[in-house]
């Protein structure tokens, strides 16, 4: 059940990305193109997800512990630092350039578009570079 729930979570996530259109970089870039071929669909993806998670998270956290773990691993920081802002800004530039963020890029990998097969390894390298720079401050419980 423990492993199965994780598998189902991954499958639900990937299916949601495909159904919603987020696995299509053209759709993502059109959402970001307010002054061109604007497609507002992506706002509905975020809206749909938050409408489900907001009450869902609230209910889940009424439990003392998760089903298969001793504690909830939730981020506790509330401060702002340069790393958060610079990191998010950098991420946004890459997201705009390629139309891919990590979930959709990985979900798209089996579809084997040549662009995806270039993007994904580059993304993994980018993550490893950031980890090797930020390891001392990177906590495993962060998002």
């Amino acid at each position: 059940m423990r492993i199965f729930s994780t598998l189902i979570a991954g499958l639900l996530f990937g299916t949601g990305l495909i159904l919603s259109g987020m696995a299509n970089p053209a759709k993502v870039q059109n959402f970001l193109d307010l002054f061109g071929t604007w497609d507002p669909s992506l706002a509905f993806v975020m809206g749909g997800a938050i409408m489900v998670t907001m009450p869902g998270f609230w209910l889940v956290q009424k439990r003392a512990t998760p089903f298969f773990n001793d504690v909830f691993h939730l981020p506790t920081r509330t401060d702002f630092d340069a790393r958060l802002v610079v990191g998010a800004a950098t991420f946004g530039i890459g997201w705009g350039l390629g139309g891919f963020c990590p979930g959709p890029a990985l979900t798209s990998t089996p579809l084997a578009a040549s662009g995806t097969l270039i993007f994904v390894p580059a993304m993994l390298v980018g993550m490893m570079i950031a980890k090797s720079i930020a390891v001392p401050v990177l906590k495993s419980k962060t998002v």
Partner: protein, 144 residues
């Protein structure tokens, strides 16, 4: 290239993403942040305790497209740029930025906002802003 406005499919797809986040939190007490899940199982400093769960989640994610094709008989519609150098830069920025900023669209944009995290709200506003500007420059300044 224009894409169709798909409010219903996008809302339902978003709902599935939300459901996945609830399953992860309820079962394992974990946030469904893809950049976090992936980066934790990458070197350096691999999270050995979380390795099996991380890999299984990724297997689920990777199975979604093949299963989609099997069930619907259709390949998910997708237009990916074939500009290699651009995608290398985009990939590095996405990977680097999401780890530095402790999250991406899922961890900050969905889970963080749902928890009312001010860090996540700030991060989401920041990456949305730079993404809008990037696409504007890409399509209307340099792209023409």
């Amino acid at each position: 290239m224009e894409t169709d406005f798909t409010p219903i499919a996008s809302l339902l797809g978003g709902g599935l993403i939300g459901l996945s986040a609830i399953v992860l939190l309820a079962a394992h007490g974990r946030i469904a942040g893809i950049s976090g899940i992936v980066s934790r199982i990458l070197s350096p400093n691999v999270d050995k305790a979380g390795l099996p769960q991380g890999i299984v989640f990724l297997i689920g994610l990777l199975l979604a497209a093949p299963l989609w094709i099997l069930v619907t008989g259709a390949t998910p519609a997708q237009v990916v740029s074939s500009n290699g150098p651009l995608l290398v830069i985009a990939g590095i920025l996405v990977g680097f930025g999401s780890v530095m900023g402790n999250g991406c669209t899922s961890g900050h944009g969905v889970c963080g906002i749902s928890r009312g995290s001010t860090r996540s709200i700030a991060a989401t506003m920041t990456f949305m802003a730079t993404a809008f500007v990037t696409v504007f420059v890409l399509r209307h300044v340099v792209g023409g």
